[in-house]
Amino acid sequence: MSQASIRVRLTLWYGTALALILILFAGTIYFVISRGLRDQVDASLEEAASVAIRTLGEHRFGPFLIFEDLSQNFPELALLDKFFQIFGPAGQVTIQSANIKSREIPLSQTAFQASLKGQATFESVRFDEGVPFRLLSVPIRHTERLVSILRVGTSLYPTEKMLQRLLLALVIASPIAIIVSLLGGWFLAGRALMPVNVITCAAQRIADGDLTQRITSPRSSDEIGRLASVFNDMIARLEISFRQIRQFSADASHELRTPLTITKGETELALRRPREADDYRQVLESNLEEIDRMSRIVDELLFLSRADLGEIKMTMSPISLDSLVREVQLQATILGQDRQIETILGTVEPIVVDGDELRLRELLLNLVDNAIKYSHPNSQVELSLRQIDAQAELKVCDHGIGVSDLEQQRIFDRFYRTDTARAHASKGTGLGLAICQWIVDVHQGTIQMQSSPGAGSCFTVLLPLRAPVV
């Protein structure tokens, strides 16, 4: 039954445990009570015997003992629940009480032998009619010699009747108790497991591909409630990353399709009929541009997916940010030449941080490249570096097209480019800032932008200073 549901197993375990407990309990009760009853019978026999012996002693154990004396001294005899017998030293009956009537209850061999040794004996006997008796045989000795044997007996019938009733009650009541509690256990297990069923159904729907499903659990603080909320959190995160992946691949394919459409279209158009050499040249130039764009997208995508997988190796070393800023400024000056965009240095303080030089340079170049790309001709881009508390503050500011507040939240997203940016500069992949964000993150820093549309933007990078060597 390895397939049995938890509900069945719980109920069976519960039932078995209960049955064992009940059997143990019933057995103990039966044992204790039957033992108690017998002890009571034995005690009354002993008492009767001692009274009888005392009486016999008063008559000096003479054979002249008569029953009348006995009954006078021992009123319990009137109750008829006990009988007396006195045997001679050879084991023959010499006298017996009237209530024994004609029934023959001889002295057993065991009792006789024990009497010879001077020991009293308890016996339980049952005669043909089935009436059980309890017998006590006590030797009466005078000066080390066995004079006679006194036997006191009583019927065990009432005791036995009572024990039978008890047994009957236990045998009938226990199974009923077990069945009732099995039903109760089955019901309770079902109730306790119902939220699990709900979760299973929801999980099934989710497994079928509907990630918008959530589990609704009425109780929120118990084990099941916690399971449900953990489960919901997990699904929510899955849903988000699924959506991101889908969005990402859709965006990636769209961004790659555009240059493909252009190269295909331009080339086919050129081939439709003979053209001037100059036309061919233009087509080839355009195609080259698009091929460059595609390889840039592919490179950056590859970088980001390797970064996601944690496969980018970082070699951390002390980097002097101020000299890096100066180097990048030189490169930026060349980049901006075509459109008369000057890159100037503001405050540049000497600052050392721990970092990967290649990546930090890439970060700076990306920001400066954006600043130049999204600037108006004949404007300035400013680079500055200052220490603020225990952080290096790197700023890249421009007087370009800017980004509206609404769009600012999304510019670090992969492939996101504002419409104004698309219209302003066709070259661009929308991946640069996503890469910047990643680089800043692995350096435990932050990156932010302030911008007003049409007036310009400022990107601020904060990096922790190099930890002092202890």
Binding site: A250, H254, T258, T261, L269, R272, E290, D419, A423
Partner: protein, 224 residues
């Protein structure tokens, strides 16, 4: 035949325009959704080529909007995504055809021809007026057994006249369907091109096919 191309990627728009112009269509290009919608509603285009990913108004919205306002011009949508979903939505919104980027130029032109033919109600594709025959696929024009060579503009004008044979076409109508937005309406360019056409088609023949309707415009007719 005048075509509106709504496409924000400048290079894509540029080669589509050149390809269509080589086929002697008049082409207007627009990179912004809002502007595209305004043009589509105010100018009687013969065909609209519409990219779905646009700044301003998304292509699908634009399409729904112009259809609601009663524009019946055939629309061919361009999608960058090959997802069935996008095409179905486009067709549901009132598009007549779709192309998935990247597409073959010849396919774009063939589909454009098919849409124009369907809209013009010409089933065979070959236009005939009297003994003058124009084949839009090969772009061959013959009168009798004689082949006639035409410039792109002349061809466009003739095709428009022949598609509307028997109907009087005013100068503004001709402007709208044969010339694009760069055309300067104050010149007498139309009259000049009509005279070029007459020279090539009607000169020295018994029957003149292009007739002037005084005060209104021109009409193409085989019977007098």
């Amino acid at each position: 035949m005048r075509i509106l191309v709504v496409e924000d990627e400048p290079k894509v728009a540029s080669f589509i325009r050149r390809a269509l112009e080589e086929e002697s269509y008049a082409v207007d290009v627009c990179a912004d959704g809002q502007q595209g919608q305004d043009w589509a509603q105010s100018i009687d285009y013969d065909l609209i080529v519409l990219d779905l990913m646009l700044p301003g108004i998304p292509g699908l919205e634009l399409l729904k909007h112009i259809r609601k306002s009663g524009v019946k011009t055939p629309v061919m949508i361009l999608t960058a995504r090959s997802e069935v979903d996008q095409r179905v939505k486009g067709l549901d919104a009132g598009a007549d055809d779709y192309l998935t980027k990247p597409f073959a130029i010849e396919e774009l032109l063939a589909r454009a021809r098919a849409l124009l033919r369907r809209a013009g109600g010409v089933p065979t594709g070959v236009l005939e007026v009297g003994d003058l025959v124009l084949n839009p696929v090969t772009r061959e024009v013959t009168r009798g057994d004689q082949r006639i060579e035409l410039t792109t503009k002349e061809y466009a004008l003739l095709e428009y006249l022949m598609r509307n044979a028997g109907r009087v076409l005013t100068r503004p109508m001709i402007t709208e369907h044969v010339w694009d937005l760069d055309f300067d309406t104050f010149t007498n360019v139309i009259d000049v091109y009509i005279s070029y056409l007459r020279n090539k088609i009607d000169k020295g023949r018994e029957q003149s096919l292009i007739q002037t309707v005084r005060g209104s415009g021109y009409v193409m007719r085989a019977d007098v």
